[in-house]
């Protein structure tokens, strides 16, 4: 159907008439709005709004009629509506009794210097508040753990084992594949550089120290943060949205004890074990690459490896794993509890949780490096 709508003005000596015609509907609103805004409205006169030729009227059209009536009245005209189809009357009356002026959208603050400084200030205050909250959560978690140490029967064994399975066993394929590939890449790049000095055999030293001390544990922690830290936030966050956390509280159960401790303990077990596995797979990848491109045989590789790594090299990597596990579990659960009642915040905080835990893992790793260099190991 061809929808047409129009309005035109006829100006007699004594009266002004606005003739509206056609279909005043939402699909003609844009065209009508253009015509209406183009009209030169009179002021201080008697104006008749003649609706006799309006064939269809919906609430959008009715709003435009009403708006025109108001605009005219605001210019000091005496407005009357004529020839209104009786079936449109209830709609127009209904709107007239309710509709106010539209609320202007708040203007976004301009990018001024003051706005910039205010933004930095807001960010700083929020970061500080967040740090205090995380510290508080850490305290709560510590108290709960101490309580469990005193009453070991309160540890939820089944839930903890389930977490070990989900965060550890189920992560084996991805962690193994990725560290194997990193071992391959590492060996290839190392050999490429060391060949210039005719020192290809030191590729094994590079691999041993690099993977055992740093790469194995760091890669594993990052994969686990992406895999399990995000899952913790999403699981606890969804429970928060469904009011399940509140339900736990009203049943006299501590959400930290029921939800956080099994996840923390589970990750404390699985991340160090995953790290051992990652170390092995990384060295395997490097070994395969050395054998294939450098003609270093497996016994040769092992002998060189033995001479390259000290007694601490392996343990320095493994020692870091429980700390990283604690960071990932605590941040993951903490952000889960921060979820508000909206489903949207689950997604937002899950992203935030992964970014935060990877950030903190790397900061902690840097801290360990400083500590170990001071201890000269």
């Amino acid at each position: 159907m061809a929808d047409t709508a129009s309005i035109f003005v006829s100006d007699d000596a004594d009266a002004v008439t606005l003739h509206a015609a056609g279909d005043w509907l939402v699909r003609t609103a844009a065209e009508l709005d253009r015509q209406l805004r183009g009209l030169s409205l009179p002021s201080g006169r008697g104006v008749t709004l003649d609706l006799s030729d309006v064939e269809h009227l919906d609430s959008t059209g009715a709003w435009l009629v009403l708006r025109t009536e108001r605009d005219l009245a605001a210019r000091g005209n005496a407005v009357s509506i004529a020839n209104l189809n009786p079936s449109f009357a209830p709609l127009l009356d209904n709107l007239r009794s309710r509709a106010g002026a539209p609320v202007p959208h708040p203007v976004p603050p301009h990018h001024t210097l003051i706005g910039f400084v205010a933004h930095i200030g807001e960010f700083t205050v929020n970061a500080a508040r967040r740090a205090v909250q995380i510290l508080g959560f850490g305290g709560l978690l510590t108290l709960t753990i101490l309580n469990i140490v005193r009453h070991p029967s309160r540890l939820r064994g089944t839930a903890t084992v389930v977490q070990i399975e989900q965060t550890g066993v189920n992560a084996l394929p991805i962690v193994g594949l990725l560290t194997f590939l990193i071992g391959v890449v590492f060996a290839y790049q190392g050999a490429d550089q060391l060949r210039r000095f005719g020192a290809e055999i030191y590729t094994v030293n590079l691999l041993g120290v690099g993977i055992l001390r740093e790469l194995g544990v760091l890669l594993t922690a990052i994969i686990v943060a992406g895999r399990s830290g995000s899952a913790f936030t999403a699981q606890i966050g969804t429970m928060q949205v469904n009011e399940e956390i509140d339900a736990l509280r009203t049943l006299g159960l501590s959400p930290v004890e029921v939800l956080v401790v099994p996840r923390l303990f589970g990750l404390l077990v699985s991340l160090p074990l995953l790290t051992v596995y990652a170390d092995f797979m990384g060295l395997l990848g490097g070994g395969v690459m050395s054998w294939a491109t450098l003609d270093i045989s497996i016994p040769q590789f092992l002998k060189q490896l033995q001479s390259a790594i000290g007694q601490w090299t392996f343990w320095i990597g493994i020692i870091k794993a429980p700390f990283f596990a604690a960071i990932i579990a605590a941040i993951g659960c903490f952000e889960g509890f921060n979820v508000s009642r909206s489903a949207e915040s689950v997604g937002k905080l899950t992203t935030l949780s992964v970014v935060e835990s990877i950030f903190l893992v790397i900061v902690a790793d840097a801290g360990f490096s400083i500590l170990f260099s001071m201890l000269k190991i």
Binding site: V26, D33, S52, H56, W63, N85, A99, V103
Partner: protein, 280 residues
Amino acid sequence: MSMTDRQNGQNGGGDGVIRVRGLVNRFGAQVVHDGVDLEIRRGEVMGIVGGSGTGKSVLMRTIVGLNRPAAGEVEVLGKDVWHASDEEMRELESHWGVLFQDGALFSSLTVAQNIEVPLKEYYPMPMPLMDEIAACKIAMVGLAEEAGDKYPAQLSGGMRKRAGLARALALDPDLLFLDEPTAGLDPISASAFDRLIGDLQRSLGLTVVMVTHDLDSLLAICDRIAVLVDKQVRVGTIEEHMRDNHPWIHDYFHGPRGRAAVQTGAQRSPEASDRHTAPA
């Protein structure tokens, strides 16, 4: 002056805007609907009731094309919903508005922006006009002006339903589907919502399909009621259902709540019958 479609609607013309024939819905081995036939006429308010799990919402979702039926035909405004081309479907979707149980507002947009989503999609128009129309819809559903700039998470359940209704009305649809519009509202808000839907239905000449458990709503605004029993529907007015001998229908309308609602409904009846004859 020519008679308009809307006027025909208000005079209660007998043409069916929704026709459901031989509808079968199945989830796994469980059969929810087995040969449902339903016809909804232009300009009427049809209530859908039934016990839990009888597929009230499923029936509504099937009519608006969200749930593919195992068998049967669904025709809305003369178009077969399940065999319409994309273009026909788009045209059809601009003629109906759906209010979901909890409003289903887009959580990343403000209420006003939610209302503007369908407007932007179907009828591009200048921003100031769009804001005016959004404000107008917000006022129509009885929300305060300031609600337009709030996010759904900042609203109460009742306000979210009103905002959802405002979005459903954005394109001035001919057909309005409401899924439990008064569930979870206090009795005062619920009856205000009933009045609002009744008002809008009369002034916009809407056809309303409403899934509800609320007996007061049924009495206050529904012209006919479709009761889902034994995987089929029985359609009739309240009086007809009151005479039905089916045990569930009998219990529903003659239970203590049903009786109380019918009694208070009878006291209100002068104004209730008034509204069917008023618009001419």
